[in-house]
Symmetry: D3
Subunit: 174 residues, 6 copies
């Protein structure tokens, strides 16, 4: 069995991510979706907890009939030289990394892994920053995410949270 | 939807754990299996990595036709007062904890969660310590774990690892 | 008894902070002043240690006859989802948070706490950044802080420290 | 002004601790009571959070009319060589350590501090372990602690917590 | 014996650093070269691991006939108030710090150490940032570092690594 | 060039360690001596800081005319699955591990390294625990360590420290 790894922060998981997953599964037997920066939440860049992002991805995969998918929260280690072994210890065995980011590509290549381009589709359109800005501005963000993701975001009061965080004047940090 | 949480170290995941999962799913819509002490491995008490344990549980659930299961590696925090919020931030939403251990029961109860007994079956027989000792002694451990778990353990050279760790004379710790 | 929580970095504790404390105590039976970023010191943004800030606040409360005040150093956790339980575990029981910062407000509100505006007075005038800049420029900072705070800063050589840190060319960070 | 430091875990703060504080204050102008292992709670050895212990000590000092006391939660660092500077950074300035424990005595002496014996009174009687065992066994523990401490323990359900933790069979650790 | 401490990140160790070491050794009996930010690597600012930097410094000292040199990797602690005791616990005894950076100077001076200016030579020319930029641009960087350093960088594929990191679009951080 | 790695705690570095180093250097071009548990000190099991142990090993190698030796403090990571990459990132390149301890042997073997037995000589005689006990009992420990090690221990008051730590009654831990 050949299993691929796809790492992202998924703040939130959008239609571009879903399309990448579909394409990776077309080339592989199974897929690990690793939720990066798992310990981060409640900031404008990382509004949702790993558990909330898990629920989003789970819903999106169910409605798109993607199975053979393992979803794994991945805490940051902030130490690049050990990152590959950190990932390998938390994730079931995989053979190939899909990423467009030079740093993970370099780290996995130095560790002897096969590395491929993440097959993004309409990357400019489906982009986390743009979606979070739309949430702040009460714009249309729902059409850029799978319906199950939109439902989870509504259930957890996600738009309200993002809008409150955007008003933060950073007087005191927690 | 009502989702239950079941936390264990699963070193390894055995037939007793599988039976607990089956019974929890009979009473709930979905189940989160959280792999505790996720950062621990390569010791006699915790021989397998979280990723290896993930692969074991995934195989066991597949062969037992258990779906509606989310498997989540859960790093220790070693600080009981924040443990509940640590778990909640990494795990999709759940309503009830199944556990026989007074500490998690107490912590979740103080946080206002419903807590139930984990419905263990033949607990004396299916027990991680006993299974790891059988591995060390080249005894019969395979009949106490799901077949998929035994296959994963063989693929990763798990018995050899446990036996080598048992010879450790603890001169230098890494 | 109703106790309020007021969190700040207090670099340094100034007359604006003191006025907030006075107003909170007028509405509550007791007050916890939590010294945020307790582990930070010796930088331009956080020049003073938590222990030094404790001594400042203690002196200010004594000279203003504020009693019913608990002062607690609060280390950062850099993980918003557990911040509320981190605070609760280190601080004596409290019922209401006073803050103007959307992030703590959001986190405590999500945890079910009552949250109120911090009743700042002449906020533009009494502001930590402005006071630290005045220290660097040998300007008048002493009139913006309680006399006891000025005395502690003089005793620990605080102005000299801030001025040295301002000359930092950041060649090597410790 | 001469300020003394007294470090303990205070699980719970008992009449022996109170008597030590009284004697230290007779020899010094002020006292810092540092609550060690501040991050630990919900175990048999460390049942109470730092915040709960703060409330106990605060109540005990109030009813004994001890003022000139600063109470500071002190997280462990698990690295002896930096412990003294860790303590100094979190605690207001002090000149002398009171302790009977050779390790803190050695560390503060190597750092050039004055170190004195903690003037314990009837040490065998007033002892944290003995008091926690009495809680487990529904024995008489209330006569060994200040009345304010007993009140706080009752308010937080402390005896119930200790008894539940004593039933822990340590199957899964959080 | 009088031993001096010189702290830097040495990304990479260049001819300016070597000249500083030579001058310090002319005034002292021995030298500790501490490799700061030891845990950082694989970023544009910190491309090389501490082990790789160790090999560079070792080669440079050998070819320049500098002995009486101890090379020590020094992890960051991100807590200035304990930094001096952190350094002292990891490094053999020393009497004087050489640094031009106000923060280490201030911290060591507050701890009672002698502090001197690092005797840099042609500082504008020999500068880590400039050298790393030359690597990215395929410019001439080899003439700014000792020959042994250039050899180590070639052996580990260092230029290729720096160029890949420069292409990083920071989509996902590891 | 072929470089070997030898990891130990060296509490203290004794004649058995020195003989191992001599034998490893007879089979290899160079040696890395990694000082494990570098952050530990001031306990009975780990009385000396990494910096003090560095000074001991440096003195021992100088008097024994061992060159081609790199000495590296190695902090624990308490996570076996990343230990090999942790070591590799802090230590200059090496090809073979010498160890008699099954855990490091297993971890390095799983990572594809050559692993050999550490060629200990009279292991029962030269043993850290025995030497520390002799220090506590004012017995003869000096004949079991190189003369330079004995000198460093005397200079830092090491015997006095070990004896004080042995009196520890563990009332309060730092």
């Amino acid at each position: 069995m050949r299993r691929a790894l796809f790492v992202g922060r998924f703040q939130p998981f959008h239609l571009g991510h879903l399309e990448v997953c579909r394409r990776i599964l077309a080339e592989n037997d199974a897929l690990v979706i690793a939720i990066g920066s798992a310990e981060s939440s409640h900031s404008l860049v990382n509004p949702f907890t790993a558990g909330e992002r898990y629920a989003m991805i789970e819903a999106a995969c169910a409605e798109a009939d993607l199975d053979r998918v393992a979803i794994i929260p991945l805490p940051d280690v902030n130490r690049n030289a050990i990152w590959v072994s950190h990932v390998r210890s938390l994730v079931p065995p995989f053979e190939v990394l899909y990423s467009n980011n030079p740093l993970p590509r370099r780290l996995f290549a130095e560790a002897g892994f096969e590395v491929r381009d993440a097959p993004f589709h309409e990357r400019a359109r489906y982009e986390g920053t743009r979606i979070r800005h739309a949430m702040v501005a009460d714009g249309d963000w729902e059409h850029d995410v799978p319906r199950g993701v939109a439902r989870v975001i509504r259930e957890i009061g996600g738009v309200d949270r993002v809008q409150m965080l955007a008003r933060s004047d950073a007087v005191d940090k927690p």
